[in-house]
């Protein structure tokens, strides 16, 4: 199934809709709304059913002549009305799967019910448009560490975004990319001015963030930077060998 992230679509009454994820394949198409909002998403989800499927073609997706399966995804249960719901806390919960018309999708959801979500492998993409500030920081950590490669000429905001989105890069709408780029700018500017001041700068002439000569590839320096990045990203204190030996 191909997919698009935050694509702009129109309902049959020409109203704008930008669902979080739209997937489409031979067996059907679906819309997934991801939320941490404590209020019900029922009105939103209902409105997605009236999206004109012909607009899927504008995003390179297969068109259909039926309404989509609409699914919401949350960390805890809030009643989202007559729609299938995924609870993605520690184990995958699938609720109201009878609302899904696509048989293949329904059986795949049922088969996945109960799987442990806490120790899944990391995904190759580390940034998403929906992310909040601390999630964006975590998503940027290793891309920032690359700036310390000897001879690295730095990275622009677009490079940070494209590398973080990885294989999703072509599927994220232009508008969502613009918003994400702005969020990355806010976090990077704070990092350069405060947490890694002296180690990183923003080169205005070239429009890139880059490392300074203060960085030396020495274990102490590397440990200090790794720990500062963790703190910046809001991750709790890390145990070091020293603390282990104490």
């Amino acid at each position: 199934m191909d997919y698009a992230i935050e694509p702009l679509l129109l309902t049959k009454r020409a109203e704008d809709k930008t669902p979080d994820i739209v997937g489409s394949g031979k067996s059907g198409w679906l819309i997934v709304e991801i939320t941490l909002n404590s209020g019900s998403k029922e009105p939103n989800l209902r409105s997605y059913s009236s999206i004109d499927p012909r607009f899927l073609a504008q995003h390179g997706l297969e068109t259909h002549d039926t309404p989509p399966d609409v699914i919401s995804s949350r960390l805890s249960f809030v009643d989202d009305g007559p729609h299938c719901q995924l609870i993605v806390k520690d184990r995958l919960e699938v609720i109201k799967e009878d609302q899904v018309n696509n048989k293949l999708l329904k059986s795949a959801l049922i088969a996945s019910r109960g799987i442990d979500l806490t120790r899944l492998p990391s995904l190759p993409f580390t940034l998403l448009p929906e992310m909040r500030a601390n999630e964006i920081r975590v998503g940027l950590i290793e891309i920032i560490m690359q700036l310390f490669k000897p001879g690295c000429e730095g990275k622009s905001l677009k490079q940070f975004m494209d590398e973080g989105l990885e294989r999703l890069s072509d599927s994220v709408s232009i508008n969502a990319q613009r918003i994400l780029r702005d969020k990355i700018r806010t976090e990077m500017d704070a990092l350069v001015k405060d947490v890694l001041e002296g180690y990183l700068i923003f080169d205005k002439a070239k429009g890139v963030y880059k490392s300074t000569e203060k960085f030396k590839q020495h274990p102490k320096t590397m440990e200090r930077i790794a720990l500062k990045l963790r703190d910046w990203a809001g991750i709790g204190p890390q145990k070091t060998l020293d603390s282990f030996l104490r």
Binding site: P121, P124, E142, E163, Q217, M222, K239
Partner: protein, 347 residues
């Protein structure tokens, strides 16, 4: 003294060494023969010119992609076959101690170069080929993450001939090799009733030719391993590009001390060549993000009690997977196997 200017010269020099032919060796300025060593080197750059030579400087010989070291004493002692995109072969006629030191330093200190980390399947590859038979193996378990006083390290190097003079030796070796990582294997090839090659392969991609009859046969056998490794890199890269799954490395032993593991990679130390920040921790599971210092490509690493998930985003080099399997396996986690979405790779 006759310099090596062609592939033919190189083969003649090797042949003279194999035959301990003093007259032929003298023509190349050598007074005694040394065992041929070869090192498989994984490269992320197309040409060796940009890296410099471990000893002297590289000079082309008559065949495209082949180089010899010159402008130094002793010259004509290192030969590079860079005819494959990703896996080069460095042949060395230096003494073993000097050779290992020089080559290891060259690989370690050069971005974009790494060793080829040979899995158990690669090391035992010759067993499946006609004429080859195993003549011994080396096993290693350093228990490097445990405090010295309580470390349970294990090392075994067992050479044997065609006969087993110690009853039960095979059984002991089998038990040990099921539990611990193999770091070297010795093989012999028989042709026409006599031994035509006797070689010892190491898990870091080195091979020592202890005895040989035919230079061509030796070069072909080393190239066979290089081709297998190049194919594995290609296959693993394709799988990574097509599927969203990570590389999964399964170990036979538990990684007991995740704190020590974390402390090592946070500082960018050790043979793993990883610089990582720990982003999630519970008792027997850790998540890390960072870079592979081999190429400075991004790395995401999830470490469980006896497994590792390795994700290499974008177009990053996948050589970190066999490196982790070999280094971690020999250090503290025992026998290792690498999978990608259920398919065994680097096997």
């Amino acid at each position: 003294m006759r310099p090596v200017r062609s592939l033919k010269d190189f083969k003649e020099l090797l042949q003279a060494g194999f035959e301990s032919n003093e007259e032929s060796l003298e023509a190349f300025g050598k007074t005694y023969s040394t065992q041929l060593k070869a090192y498989l080197v994984e490269s992320n750059a197309p040409h060796p010119d940009s890296f410099g030579c471990p000893l002297g400087s590289w000079n082309n010989i008559d065949s495209s992609g082949w180089y010899v070291n010159r402008d130094v004493e002793p010259s004509n002692t290192l030969f590079l076959d860079s005819t494959r995109d990703r896996v080069w072969i460095l042949y060395s006629l230096l003494d073993a101690t000097q050779s290992d030191f020089i080559v290891e330093n060259w690989v370690k200190s050069t971005n974009n170069l790494d060793s080829c980390w040979l899995s158990r399947g690669n090391l035992l590859h010759w067993e499946n080929l006609s004429g080859w038979s195993r003549r011994g193996m080396g096993l290693r378990f350093s228990d490097g993450l445990s405090p010295e006083e309580s470390s349970g390290n294990f090392s075994l190097k067992a050479w044997h001939g065609a006969n087993r003079y110690v009853e039960g030796l095979d059984e002991i070796l089998k038990i040990a090799q099921d539990k611990f990582a193999i770091y070297s294997v010795r093989f012999q090839k028989k042709s026409g009733g006599s031994i035509s090659i006797s070689a010892e392969w190491y898990s870091d991609g080195k091979v020592t030719i202890n005895r040989a009859e035919d230079a061509d046969e030796v070069l072909i056998s080393v190239a066979e391993m290089a081709n297998r490794y190049a194919d594995s890199l290609k296959e693993a890269t394709n799988l990574r590009n097509k599927k969203i799954a990570p590389f999964e490395i399964d170990f036979s032993k538990r990684i007991e001390d995740l704190d020590a593991f974390s402390a090592t990679v946070t500082k960018g130390q050790g043979a793993m060549k990883l610089w990582l920040a720990e982003i999630e921790a519970c008792q027997d599971f850790r998540r890390f993000k960072g870079v592979d210092l081999h190429t400075w490509d991004r790395i995401l690493l999830d470490v469980g009690p006896d497994y590792v998930y390795l994700t290499v985003p974008g177009k990053g080099c996948v050589n970190a997977a066999p490196r982790l399997a070999v280094v971690q396996g020999e250090d503290n986690a025992g026998r290792a196997s690498i999978y990608h979405d259920g398919t065994e790779v680097f096997a």
